[in-house]
């Protein structure tokens, strides 16, 4: 197992290096850079920016160098100093920007994920056991509905409904008075209130998928002879259900957890924009739009790393969960 893992990790390194090159290249691809973007933004606000101003700014930020030079400087700083560069937009080191949003991002993502798994797995089991029952149709229909509605539209509609019914569109994650307040019970409640729409919007689609997978897996597992064996042994139906099919059906779901690693951090960018959530997704989107390249680059690199690691974790998890593979490694 260890050897396998090590081998996989070693393979990750060239992949990540390659990705970092692509990432950097792609960020550079759209015409214009941070300076032209900045100049355009400030022109809108009525400020005068001359070509000299822009050239000077470029020179300061090192944007006048060739792309490959910028790349090597960036990578060198990462490797040598652990310095991921500087965010032009925030006037802060990239890591500080990422850190600023990490807490709430994780909160939103983990709550959403917990919601997804806690809701989807029981419903998936239920729908499989009671296949073709009214409940099955109801939950399947509901989850399909969640999946079929584009997130951004659902978010806007829920926000508007919340405004018309409760007079509060529940924008952001906190009401204005709590944004900078110390943590307190009231702030927690306020946060919980503001989490409802994101959890529904982001969670529902994922839930739909999970329910489908869980239901399908359960249906497969319920038809396996080992269930009959267990029954012939005299086990109660409940015990059978949880010990055999559920356990087996959870395997693929647990192992896909690695795949969703990236979504923990990005969340649903579009939804977050619509709902004004102060999380990483929109920050990175804006970094891309504004060509805040080290921020965007670091983030994309991070995401790429997570994707690769997620695949690795999934593979290892899958191997670990499958006794067949696990024991093979034990033997060697």
């Amino acid at each position: 197992m260890l050897q396998y893992t090590l081998k996989r990790i070693l393979l990750v390194i060239p992949v990540v290096v390659f990705i970092s090159v692509i990432v950097f290249y792609i960020i550079q691809l759209p015409p214009g850079d941070y300076v032209s973007n900045y100049a355009a933004e400030m022109s809108v606000a009525g400020e005068v920016f001359t070509q000299e101003d822009m050239d000077a700014m470029r020179a300061d930020l090192g944007l006048d160098r060739p792309v490959y030079e910028q790349y090597f400087i960036w990578i060198k700083d990462i490797v040598v100093h652990g310095d991921f560069g500087f965010s032009f937009n925030y006037n802060k080191p990239v890591l500080a920007v990422i850190e600023q949003y990490m807490g709430l991002t994780l909160t939103v993502s983990l709550v959403t994920m917990a919601f997804q798994y806690l809701v989807a797995i029981p419903i998936g089991i239920y729908c499989a056991v009671k296949q073709y029952s009214i409940g099955d149709y109801f939950f399947s229909g509901l989850s399909f509905l969640g999946m079929a509605t584009p997130h951004f539209l659902m978010a806007v509609i829920l926000m508007f409904l919340s405004y018309t019914w409760f007079g509060d569109p529940l924008l952001g994650l906190f009401s204005a008075e709590y944004v900078n307040a110390e943590w307190s019970m009231a702030k927690m409640i306020d946060l919980a209130k503001h989490m409802v729409i994101p959890v529904i919007v982001i969670g529902l689609s994922g839930t739909a998928d999970l329910i489908r997978v869980m239901r399908g897996q359960m249906l497969d597992e319920l038809n396996k002879p080992n269930v009959v064996t267990a029954r012939a042994k005299g086990l109660s139906e409940r015990k059978i259900l949880f010990k055999y099919p559920t356990r087996a059906a959870l395997n693929p779901i647990v192992s896909t957890f690695g795949w969703s690693l990236t979504s923990i951090f990005t969340g649903s960018t579009i939804t977050a924009i619509v709902l004004n959530l102060p999380i990483q997704g929109p920050v990175m989107f804006n970094a891309l739009l504004g060509q805040d390249m080290y921020l965007a680059g670091t983030w994309l690199l991070f995401m790429a790393l997570l994707t690769v690691l997620g695949t690795l974790i999934s593979d290892i998890l899958l191997a670990w969960l499958d006794p067949k593979i696990r024991t093979e490694f034990r033997g060697t």
Binding site: L11, P14, V15, F18, I19, I22, V23, I26, I27, L29, P30, P31, V129, Q131, G141, F144, L145, M147, A148, T149, P150, H151, F152, L153, V156, I157, F160, G216, L219, D220, L222, N223, P225, V227, V228, R231, E237, R238, I240, L241, I270, V274, F285, L288, L289, A296, L300, M303, A304, L305, L306, T307, V308, T311
Partner: protein, 379 residues
């Protein structure tokens, strides 16, 4: 609690009707099984209707995509009436003429029905000219009212265009282009996943790493670069097709992984090993022995991927990367609907959401039905 069917291999084959069922081909079994899935059958029917609607959209839509009219900006859906203001019943449904005015305070357009002017619904009326099926020039449209009357069964948009027409004409893009994308990822996923799974070894290792790289590809800046790079002369629909194709070139990885997994598990089956020992060529083994083993799964996976593409189109439109009006897709319509003032003031603009949901649902149900059908033995 009672658990579900438990037929070991030795038990009765669940026959489904005809006497020679034991000897039916896999496809026939699928068909028989599929017929049983009521929801899937209904979905197939609905989808067929939707696609027919798309095919004949120009004929079905009362108006064209550039039928702007400042008089009817943001007009609510008209009621199709049978009983007129005097309580008289008409066998032929009709609409009243819409009178528009502006609220001087809020500048909102206010529409009232002019009960004096009645326009009966007419069939096969002469309207704007179009090309039937894109080939035959025609002017006849299925429904309409006599000029100068107008009929907006689902209301109008901010440019005074008929929403019903836009939904119908938009379905031509929304229902067809995702098929292209899915088709491409299907072929790519099948070939590359198959090669990776069948041959294994270093080839597999390389392909898996490539897949990892593609999966972690930053798509957003890629789209942004593309939209800047694509020359403006290219019609938006064609530009969108390009985007979908590129999308497909990224999306195939998921399918490839599935195919690879299947190949790995199948290639060690006795019958495949037997064929190999017998000296059957790789290509033949793949085509003859491996593919039939799970082609049905692939069909299902493909069916289930289509709604994802349809939804992706709406998201692309949100980011301003998709189709742009006057070319219309459902994504464009939803993107217009999501503006807060539209939801607040002109809620009928959300109607296209209904068709999107309907399509996505029916594709999913169809996929489910196919999945059940593909698996007659519940393997």
């Amino acid at each position: 609690m009672k658990l579900l069917p438990v037929f070991g291999k030795s038990t009765v084959v669940k026959p489904a009707g005809s006497n020679d069922v034991n000897y039916s081909s896999q496809w026939r079994l699928m068909y028989l099984r599929f017929k049983k899935h009521k929801l899937a059958r209904v979905s197939l029917f609905v989808l067929a209707l939707l696609y027919m609607g798309a095919l004949f959209a120009q004929f079905l839509a009362p108006y064209g995509l550039q039928n702007y009219d400042s008089k009817y900006v943001n007009a609510p859906p008209m009621k199709l009436r049978f009983v007129d203001a005097e309580g008289k019943f008409h066998i032929r449904p009709f609409v009243y003429e819409l009178k528009s005015a502006r609220d001087p305070e809020t500048m909102r357009k206010i529409f009232t029905s002019d009960t004096e002017k009645r326009y009966p619904l007419q069939f096969f009326v002469k309207g704007e000219s179009y090309k039937f099926l894109g080939l035959v020039p025609a002017t006849t449209r299925l429904i309409g009212v006599e000029v100068p009357g107008r009929i907006f069964l689902l209301g109008t948009d901010a440019l005074g265009r008929d929403l019903l027409s836009r939904i119908l004409l938009g379905s031509q893009v929304s229902l067809s282009i995702p098929l292209v994308g899915v088709g491409i990822s299907f072929v790519l996923g099948l070939i590359i996943g198959g090669v990776s799974g069948y041959f294994g070894g270093w080839l597999d290792s390389v392909i898996q790493r490539i897949i990892e790289i593609i999966r972690s590809f930053p798509t957003l800046p890629l789209w942004m670069a593309l939209s800047a790079a694509i020359p403006p002369r290219i019609p938006v629909v064609r530009m969108y097709i390009y985007i979908v194709i590129i999308f497909a070139f990224i999306e195939w990885t998921g399918l490839a992984r599935v195919v690879r997994g299947k190949f790995i598990s199948l290639k060690n089956e006795d019958y495949v090993v037997a064929a190999k020992i017998a000296g059957v060529g790789d290509a033949k083994i793949i085509v003859k022995h491996l593919l039939p083993g799970f082609i049905s799964y692939l069909v299902v996976a493909t069916t289930l991927a289509i709604p994802g593409m349809i939804l992706a189109e709406t998201a692309m439109s949100f980011l301003g990367l998709g189709i742009r009006s006057p070319a219309t897709s459902w994504g464009v319509l939803l993107q217009e609907a999501q503006q807060i003032d539209n939801i607040a003031l002109y809620p009928w603009k959300i109607i296209p959401l209904g068709t999107v949901i309907l399509t996505v649902l029916t594709f999913n149900f169809l996929g489910d039905g196919l999945r059940d059908a593909a698996d007659p033995y519940k393997r």
